[in-house]
């Protein structure tokens, strides 16, 4: 039984392998990039606009609002990174309705790459916001004794991000494959509908967690800026 689309080998030359994960990732990248290029080719500023522009505006403002709710003050600075994470994972799980497609996020290498991006982005945004010294000082935050634990938590949450997304996506396709052998007609459809829901929830959770980590890195030294109760 196949655990991940890594094991679909499409093309091989020496040690160079083109497996299913890479091919599906390229396909998704092409859809996202060319789709948004086609839509943003002729943007209109007045009230009459195309339906695709409306769709993109809804998505972009929705993501911006979510990022702002987490506590990042300039969402347009982070939307390039967090929005791309969300859109990629969401499209990867949405496309499972296409027959023959397997989500590239069901491979541990893809999710590990995404989690490593978060691992790099957190100190990047943190240093940009509060300087190198301020960011490094946040590791020894309550006392210096917490230094190793803070570093361990940084690494373990990266592992958790990767394995959580991988486990959810892999379990979806795995359950489908097992159900297809036992009850082949109705149940797989219901389970794949449930898989669409978990895929969207996982995409939301991945990007929200990345936003929370970035938010905690960028304002660790400014306790006065904690959001007060708004309602």
């Amino acid at each position: 039984m196949r655990l991940s689309p890594d094991q679909i080998i499409l093309w091989q030359y020496g040690f160079l392998k083109l497996n299913g994960t890479i091919a599906f990732t390229w396909g998704l990248m092409a859809v996202l990039a060319f789709g948004s290029m086609l839509v943003t080719r002729k943007l209109s500023m007045d009230l009459k606009r195309s339906r695709w522009q409306n769709l993109l505006e809804i998505i972009v403002t929705g993501i911006e609002k979510q990022i702002a709710d987490v506590g990042l003050r300039h969402p347009d600075k982070y939307i390039g990174f967090l929005g791309t994470l969300f859109l990629f994972i969401a499209l990867a799980s949405l496309c499972t309705i296409i027959p023959g497609y397997e989500p590239p996020t069901g491979s541990l290498s893809t999710t590990a790459a995404l989690a490593l991006c978060v691992l790099v982005a957190v100190p990047f945004f943190g240093i940009e916001e509060q300087g190198l010294g301020g960011y490094l000082k946040s590791y020894a935050e309550p006392t210096i004794i917490m230094l190793p634990f803070n570093i361990i938590s940084e690494l373990s949450r990266t592992l958790a991000l990767a394995v959580r997304l991988f486990g959810n996506m892999m379990s979806g396709t795995m359950i489908l494959a097992i159900l297809l052998t036992t009850t082949p007609f109705i149940f797989p459809i219901a389970m794949s509908a449930l898989g669409l829901l978990t895929g969207m929830v996982q995409a939301y959770i991945f990007s929200i967690l990345a936003a929370v980590y970035i938010a905690s890195a960028t304002r660790a030294r400014k306790p006065t800026l904690k959001p007060t109760a708004k309602h």
Binding site: V163, G167, I205, H231
Partner: protein
Amino acid sequence: MDSMTLIAIASIVTAGLTIALGSIGPALGEGRAVATALSSLAQQPDAATTITRTLFVGLAMIESIAIYCFVVSMILIFANPFWNHVIAQAAGK
């Protein structure tokens, strides 16, 4: 019993135990989290967005423990390194 049978028995039984024992804790934890979130939603419907978002993030954190157990049991069943090693040795003979 040769070592191959032993490895098969140990892997299958451990996979079942992993997912069985490993889902008890997260199940109890998620139930508590959802119950508390529901009662606070009933008390303060105004804070619904904040409560829901925090609930989702917390549920994902709790659920990841069950997912770790699931991944370990899947590895034990479908991609077992010890099993593959024994198979490779048997093929080499």
